[in-house]
Amino acid sequence: MRRNNTFLNLDWIVIVLYLFMVLAGWLNIYSAVYNEEHNNIFDLSQRYGKQLMWIGFALMLALFVIVVDSKFYVTFSYLFYALFILLLIIVLFFGKEVNGSKSWFVIGNFAFQPAEFAKYGTALAISKLLSTYNFSLKIRQNQLIAALIILLPVALIILQNDTGSALVYLIFIIPLFREGMSGLILFFGVYFTILFIGSLVMSPVAFIVVLLLLSLLVAFYFLKRWLPIGKVVLLLLAISMPFAIYQILAGDGSFDLYFVLIRSSFLTALLLLFRTIVKRIQHMPLITAVFLVSIVFSVSVDFAFNRFLEPHQQDRINHLLGIESDPLGAGYNVNQSKIAIGSGGFLGKGFLKGTQTKYDFVPEQSTDFIFCTVGEEWGFVGSLLVVAAFVWLLIRLVQLAERQRSKYSRVFGYSVAAILFFHFAINIGMTIGVAPVIGIPLPFFSYGGSSLWFFTILLFTFLRLDASRLEQLH
């Protein structure tokens, strides 16, 4: 009985979370574009009216996705993938240019972005690939095939000049990691991304201090003893002394902490590297080497940034990284977005009472920056609720993925969670100034049919697979 009733087997927690987000998203779009003259919620000339129509259509899509047999997705995974790759190629020739990227099909009133749906195809294809009998990511050839499946759409989307959308594909590292990809790739991928952003965003002194503390903590994790850590700190202080004294004597009264820190920590790490190699102490050479490489990497990023880039290029990177400068300059959007969210306070200004978002201080307030309306009108409480809903959804998706018997469903589940996570992390992160400004929508919240349908199909395909988790799929 239970085995055969798809609807009873659906995970209703996910569905309720989905409905909550779509409804909350619509309320915020309504508020963001609210206009006393047009307050009929079905007014199709207004964004909330259109969004309402698209929500209705999305629900129909969800129903359709659930009704289809789950074997259908498994069987046609590669076909779907091929179809979307084809669309990505076609859009290069026949697409419409919007905001500098040629990534939209426009047929009459209907606009559609294949890059969005290509993620769906890629998720299906990766799931299919990894669930192949006897497939192992330890084999070099398999690694290459997986990389190819992911990088082909990335290349095509970059050709459309839509780097933001292409970046999303990096998140396929997560399902690959879950399926046995070397953890080091995940670690160093994340580590150097953070290092790169950190060395541009943080002050040099803060950067070195954080790096030092981090290295010492990792060293303690492996050594489980404080004594050698203390010795290293003492060594560092001893080596920094001559530099500090030099600074005081030769300087013009100012004390350059960065000068002292960078030289003494570099020398200390060199000494330590030499000593730990000679004494064959486990893990320590690697930690000190990573520390040294990190310092060199950060200094060269800084140097390259200041030395080789023109001011306007620096601006653009600063902009990408969301670094605040002149409020009307590169960081303007992020700054206004933070002002809007910050002005919400603990309980928010109330529904329809936001001023920053409504009066266009925040750009794209119903699409990429929809979270500003949440922050301004619903305050910390509302923001917390939305973040919690997303984290709950992600945790729930991982739990569902883990209960799959079929590897195909599990990989697909992780892909869905990973894609949602990337959108959630980058979108909300950029509105509060902790992530670079990349124009990607907040799932279920942002205005726009194309992205809502994509996320709906993605989520409900997994729910459909989950509903038939007890069946043999291949």
Partner: protein, 617 residues
């Protein structure tokens, strides 16, 4: 179970850590930091200033002298400007294209979202012309301001002008904001707080394009502007105009006061300028030219020119001597072509003895040398120094050596040296003697007085010993009158001593006597006057005259200075009596038309013109 299932924990950890980071960041943004809330309010709140119209200014007879006229500032919001034909816009506005470009750049620098003024004070005519073309220039709009406008082309110095506030005023007085107007000289400055009114503020919620979206807090914080108070001046604009006409082509000044009230009827500094010349954009063009003019048209001589008073000062000594009892009206001194003591001579041109009235009528230097010496060497006092100090007290009580007017802030104090000054510069620890001070007897030497002080002194003579502070504003529309202008200042001279002085001053204009200004006599009006010559080390001396009339119940007291006019009877006396006659009779009688013609024709500024009278020593 597969071998990598533990990795799910790592992945969950990443999700949860990101969630926690967001919550912490949101907490600091929304709950801990208050900066964002303030900026948010600043973002959406636009304060719109409702500029009050400045108070109107009337003359004593209710003639409107100063009013307001609309002018328009062209504003630009850089963000909204699209490509436009700069050349055509500049032609329409009649401004140089380079200046316009600079202003646009400044506006962009200030803010891309908020409007700035790019062209100031466009006339209503040009504004009307431009209105229909504005659709071509998105991002530009007009803001209405008011400019001063004048019914009469007179009294520019008294009225003063209005200009934009400077940075130091903005820093010191929070009322003023950049771009506000403020009175800079004259009445506009002295009565700024009455005239300016109260700015109104309306608060609006605006969007990022500065477009108004609604009122803030339902307008509860909005205030209406309150119009400035109107002023009624003491000036008689007709008399002022006539006085200015008489001073055309001459340098000098005229101050006429109503003795019974201290009200200034006319105040002229010549050469002057037209009030319109310093309004709005014209000021930018005219001011530097005027400031560079060697005839100093911007300089208010009536208040700021400090001349040695000359013979008009003689009655001061007579009054003090009478009060101190060192002479009587019948004390007689002999003029032997002057006053001679040893090698010292104070020259004069008589060979006869004078009593008080005669000495005034004929302005005898010798008489006053004797009199002044008696004041200094007063036997009742311990010596010359004390005699001088006593004399100075009387002089100060007659309104000299300090700002005598109530509301003409630019006025200088003049100079009556105190005894320390002579101690330091003349006697240098030696014994005080009368002779080194004797030139004061004929109003020369170290003393300096301003024309307005001399007019006030004429008013004291007319009042027999007291005065109200001369002032130029009679009443304010809100009913405020400063009590100080109703305060009587009494000199240290008893009223009884004035009769003989008045006799002498009446004889000054009496041809039978003959007085020094008998040619200026007005048939039918008893004028008391006194001629003078103000020493001028830089060129020809200045012609001066003080007078009041009629003798009984005086209606007008006047001081006239004509620079380089040599003697009082030449220009200052005829001009003074013409003004008196005009004021008292409303017109000049036919028998005196030739005097008026002469004065009108006289040109002392440009020697090449035919009426210029050349003097040589």
């Amino acid at each position: 179970m597969d071998s990598y299932s533990k990795r799910k924990n790592m992945i969950l950890l990443i999700f949860i850590v990101v969630g926690i980071v967001f919550v912490i960041k949101l907490f600091t943004l929304q709950v801990i930091s208050s900066a964002y809330k303030k900026t948010a309010t600043k973002n959406v709140l636009r304060e719109v200033v409702d500029y009050p119209s400045r108070g109107l200014i009337y003359d004593r007879n209710g003639q409107l002298m100063v009013y307001n006229q609309a002018a328009y500032d062209l504003m630009a919001t850089p963000r909204e400007i699209s490509v436009f034909d700069t050349l055509e816009l500049c032609r329409l506005l009649d401004v140089p294209i380079e200046n316009f470009r600079i202003e646009i750049q400044k506006a962009q620098k200030y803010s891309r979202f908020k409007p700035s003024i790019v062209v100031k004070q466009i006339s209503p005519e040009r504004y009307a012309l431009m209105q229909e073309k504005m659709y071509k220039y998105p991002g530009f709009f007009f803001q209405t301001r008011t400019l001063r406008s004048y019914t009469y082309s007179n009294a520019a110095h008294v009225l003063g002008y209005v200009g934009e506030v400077n940075q130091s005023l903005i820093d010191n007085e929070p009322y003023y904001k950049s771009g506000d107007y403020v009175g800079i000289t004259g009445i506009e400055k002295a009565y700024e707080s009455e005239l300016r009114g109260v700015k109104g503020f309306r608060f609006f919620l605006v969007d990022v394009h500065n477009r108004v979206k609604g009122s803030y807090e339902n307008g509860q914080l909005d205030t209406m502007s309150i119009k400035g108070n109107d002023l009624v001046t003491t000036l008689d604009v007709e008399l002022q105009g006539y006085a200015e006409l008489l001073m055309q082509n001459k340098a000098g000044s005229i101050v006429a006061i109503e003795p019974a009230s201290g009200e200034i009827l006319a105040l002229v500094s010549a050469p002057g300028y037209l009030p319109d010349d310093l309004v709005g954009r014209k000021r930018i063009e005219n001011y530097p030219k005027m400031a560079a003019d060697s005839l100093l048209p911007l300089y208010n001589r009536a208040l700021r020119a400090q001349y040695p008073p000359g013979s008009t000062f003689k009655m001061v000594h007579a009054l003090i001597a009478l009060q101190e009892g060192v002479i009587t009206p019948y004390t007689s001194f002999t003029c032997n072509h002057g006053y001679h003591v040893g090698s010292f001579s104070q020259k004069c041109h008589h060979n006869q003895a004078f009593q008080l009235t005669g000495s005034i009528a004929q302005s005898c230097n010798a008489y006053y040398s004797y009199t002044f010496r008696r004041i200094l060497e007063n036997p009742a006092l311990s010596g010359v120094r004390q005699g001088y100090e006593r004399w100075r007290e009387y002089v100060v009580s007659l309104g000299f050596s300090s700002q005598v007017s109530f509301d003409l802030d630019e006025e200088l104090k003049g100079f009556i040296p105190n005894s320390d000054y002579y101690e330091e510069h003349v006697f240098r620890k030696s014994r005080w003697r009368a002779l080194p001070l004797i030139s004061l007897a004929i109003g020369q030497g170290e003393v300096e007085t301003t024309p307005i002080q001399m007019a006030n002194y004429a008013a004291i003579l007319a009042n027999r010993g007291w005065y109200y502070k001369p002032h130029v504003v009679k009443s304010i529309s809100n009913g405020n009158v400063h009590p100080e202008i109703r305060e009587i200042h009494r000199s240290k001279i008893d009223p009884v001593h004035f009769e003989e002085i008045m006799d002498g001053m009446e004889y000054v204009l009496d041809p039978n006597y003959p007085g020094t200004a008998s040619s200026a006599r007005i048939p039918g009006i008893v004028v008391c006057g006194k001629t003078g010559t103000a020493e001028n080390p830089h060129g020809a001396d200045h012609s001066t005259f003080i007078a009041f009339a009629p003798r009984e119940n005086p209606k007008i007291a006047i001081a006239v200075y004509v620079e380089n006019g040599r003697w009082g009877n030449l220009y200052a006396a005829p001009i003074a009596t013409l003004i008196i006659e005009k004021y008292l009779n409303g017109e000049i009688q036919p028998s005196r038309k030739y005097v008026e013609d002469n004065m009108l024709k006289t040109n002392l500024l440009y020697p090449e013109l035919p009426n210029y009278i050349r003097y040589s020593k």
